[in-house]
Symmetry: C2
């Protein structure tokens, strides 16, 4: 059959989808790949010449890869959902395995509503779980929510992907995206070949929003012929760790109303707040609607949440949801169809969403342990954030606001010309160079600020404060001192 | 703050992404939505005037929504993965809950390799599980596989989405897609604004491939300026239920080689084969490479598999993978980056892939029960397929080849002009009209052939044969007779 000579590969780097090619996603980029290679080397146990004995993955908010233990109540319920036959041995579960009665009750309730966790659910998620979410939102915000406006997703990332797919009509569609930002946004807009309209956050005000800056970016984009349709807000901030004050949220909603911008509120860190309280965009919008009857009725808001962060930290289960407010029903029907194509979000992840939004209540058998575990995680994160911040304060040329929320610190680093030249010689930006040197010297993997966007001339890196212990913080301090000495101008 | 009058919604059906709007996905379309409304009505338990008492969801291959029980070994392992603390009570698991030692061993092994199932894995999947898959592929095909070429995904759908995103560069990129097809392909190509180049399967030859027809479709597309890059094959077939013979597979690979087409082999029904044996594209490609040294080295193949189908039937867990053969490493790096943006496939689903490809072996404690359950599911599906086929044979104007594989039958129906006119009066195609009438009369939900594509003038519907019992088959027979009588010309 075969006779002609082969002609080379059909697909090559030059002819594949150019929009995928231009997408950047540094959180899992070169540094992360290299850190995994080192981890594999260390795991082999053979003699090696690496100057460290473990990899600290501070590049990604992945709590259970590090120290964070899952919440007992959640995992006990999931174990029954995965093997419902266990319910035939209630006495064993209770008397031998220490499962409390409310664990069994919740598992039974979920199984009744879900059927098998091995079956596809409705495309937008299990109706009873969307009802649980709606009730949670009402408790959280003091305003009702409608399960029909809630769409469950495989983590918040998948929700963002859905929303951007709907909103972006062509390459002139613009989305206002904060800089620095979690690169899901810029990467997704690259893939969709839409326009990312960057607006800078104000580092001098704890990385808050500055309406004048947003307006300037927006006006410039409009003048360039961009059809700006939406604004992304990440609150609490990623990578910044900021927690937005009420006045910033009000100002953004008001601007969105005036300018007819859809608000995409990424609120996955809503329980990771150390300073002040979390205020949801939904609550603030409803409050503005109440204060100004009719005036805010046309505002369209999508707010996203996830089981990956907070004290839940169940990234691997890929659960999340978004709630729509004020969307046109015909547009919602298209969203439903779009999510249908991928069938449904993982059902076990959907069940975890139910557990997250409806945890054991005071007086219930599992409450005490749940609350103890929850508080221990919260306090542990706060302590580590404080300790890491304290270390940064002592480091030459490093500036970092106090920890406010999320799982990250995003310090400014000031590097010498000599360091910049050494970086350029390797074809790297100075922050990439710094982070690569840090990895190679200490095994600590962080992400350079350029992976999130930063003002020209400024340099940062993002680190989680999830890793336990203080040794790795000490190794950063030591590395930094040596780096600064080595590259002193 | 608020002063100006609202201006209407920013997003409406006219201005959202037109490529999402044009996408069609009938498997979860109007009929499915209506069937869920009926199900909700019936679930309320109030008096109703529906002429049926249950909904039979024969529209979607969702085994565990119907009769299929999960495999005990799989779910026992998952229950431990979700709650690893159970391993502290080995005696309880073994003596009180009947877990066999190999369940505990597998859970320990997976936990060692995965860490917590609540943590993100590597973007392309847990390395040890990709190794398991590679070993499975080698056992299945007799040729080695490389874990570095395996990418784990959230079901096969997500894998198809990834591959099409990479391949489709612009609206001139064409993909050869079989008609009828599972509408994931046409829907994804719509969203990507690429060109679907339809080639018809040969109903007269059990829905096999006809190379002359493929060539004709391909040549026409090329003449129209389409840059045809890939060919999709679904084997065993969806919706057709076909199982391709070796000569069809050889012919497609040879054509792909000559024409430099990437082969996308959707092989998710590889264990649902009733006639002959499943032959993977990978095995046949390697065999051709062996027989013709050098000649097939440039062929690029992506083959997809899933935990959703077969005797596993774990749709809700969203697990799957694809293997690449002959892809350019630089292209693979872009695939890695693309999947990174959504972080990773659900980790519990990844673990289920491991269990699927590496089930209990002869001599291991869980083997006997596993094999018994597996065989019962296989035989049950075969029996139901045969019974349903027999019913179709007795129905006026219905023609259907014998069941060969997958989970579907796709009979031709011949309807009267009177039926066609009644359909047109409702703005429906005749097959949509027939299926809607079937749902309204019996509660049985199937999908009209137009949802998959069919030759002009021909009419079909797709039904799964997953539902237990024979009552629902009887209700189809009865409905059909009444429908034919009512609409007789």
């Amino acid at each position: 059959m075969a006779s002609e000579a082969p002609l080379g590969k059909r697909l090559n780097i030059e002819n594949i989808n150019p929009h995928v090619r231009t997408a950047k996603y540094a959180v899992r980029g070169e540094l992360a790949v290299k850190s995994e290679e080192y981890r594999a080397t260390l795991a082999k146990g053979d003699p090696h010449d690496l100057p460290f004995n473990q990899i600290i993955s501070a590049n990604i908010g992945n709590p259970q890869q590090l120290d964070q233990q899952p919440i007992t109540f959640f995992r006990q319920v999931l174990s029954i959902l995965e093997n419902p036959v266990l319910l035939e041995k209630e006495d064993v579960l209770i008397n031998h395995l220490g499962y409390k009665p409310d664990v069994l009750e919740r598992a039974k309730w979920l199984l009744k509503k879900v059927g098998s966790v091995g079956a596809y659910s409705a495309s937008n998620g299990v109706p009873a779980i969307r009802q649980s979410i709606a009730e949670f939102l009402e408790r959280r915000d003091g305003f009702p929510a409608n399960p029909a406006d809630i769409y469950m997703s495989a983590g918040a990332s998948s929700g963002v992907n859905t929303l951007l797919h709907i909103i972006c009509a062509n390459d002139k569609t613009g989305i206002l995206v904060p800089i620095p930002q979690y690169p899901l946004y810029t990467a997704s807009l690259s893939v969709l070949n839409a326009t990312c309209v960057e607006y800078h956050l104000d580092e001098s005000k704890n990385w808050g929003t500055d309406l004048a800056v947003i307006k300037q970016a927006h006006e410039k984009a409009k003048a360039d012929g961009v059809d700006v349709r939406a604004i992304v807000i990440i609150n609490p901030g990623n990578p910044t760790g900021a927690s937005l004050p009420e006045e910033d949220i009000r100002a953004v909603i008001d601007y969105a109303r005036q300018e007819r911008l859809v608000i995409l509120a990424d609120e996955v860190y809503q329980t990771n707040v150390f300073v002040g309280e979390f205020i949801s965009f939904k609550r603030m919008l409803r409050q503005l609607q109440k204060e100004n009857p009719g005036a805010y009725d046309q505002v369209e808001l999508a707010s996203l949440h996830s089981i990956s962060k907070g004290m839940v930290g169940e990234c691997g289960h890929r659960g999340g949801y978004f709630e729509l407010v004020g969307f046109d029903p015909a547009v919602q029907a298209e969203i439903y169809k779009f999510v249908s194509i991928m069938l449904c979000a993982p059902v076990i992840g959907q069940c975890l969403v139910d557990l997250m939004v409806n945890p054991p209540k005071l007086g219930e058998p599992s409450y005490e342990l749940y609350q103890k575990e929850y508080d221990a995680i919260f306090n542990g994160l706060k302590e580590r954030a404080t300790a890491l911040h304290k270390a940064f304060e002592q480091m030459e040329g490093v500036e970092c606001g106090s920890p406010q929320g999320s799982m990250y610190l995003f310090p400014t680093i000031t590097l010498s010309k000599k360091a910049a030249d050494a970086a350029a010689a390797e074809g790297r930006t100075p922050d990439e160079f710094y982070c690569m040197q840090l990895l190679e010297a200490t095994g600590v993997c962080v992400v350079p600020g350029s992976g999130f966007g930063q003002k020209d001339g400024s340099l940062h890196f993002r680190t989680t404060f999830l890793a336990p212990g203080t040794e790795w913080v000490g190794s950063i301090v030591k590395f930094h001192k040596e780096f600064m000495d080595k590259y002193r101008d």
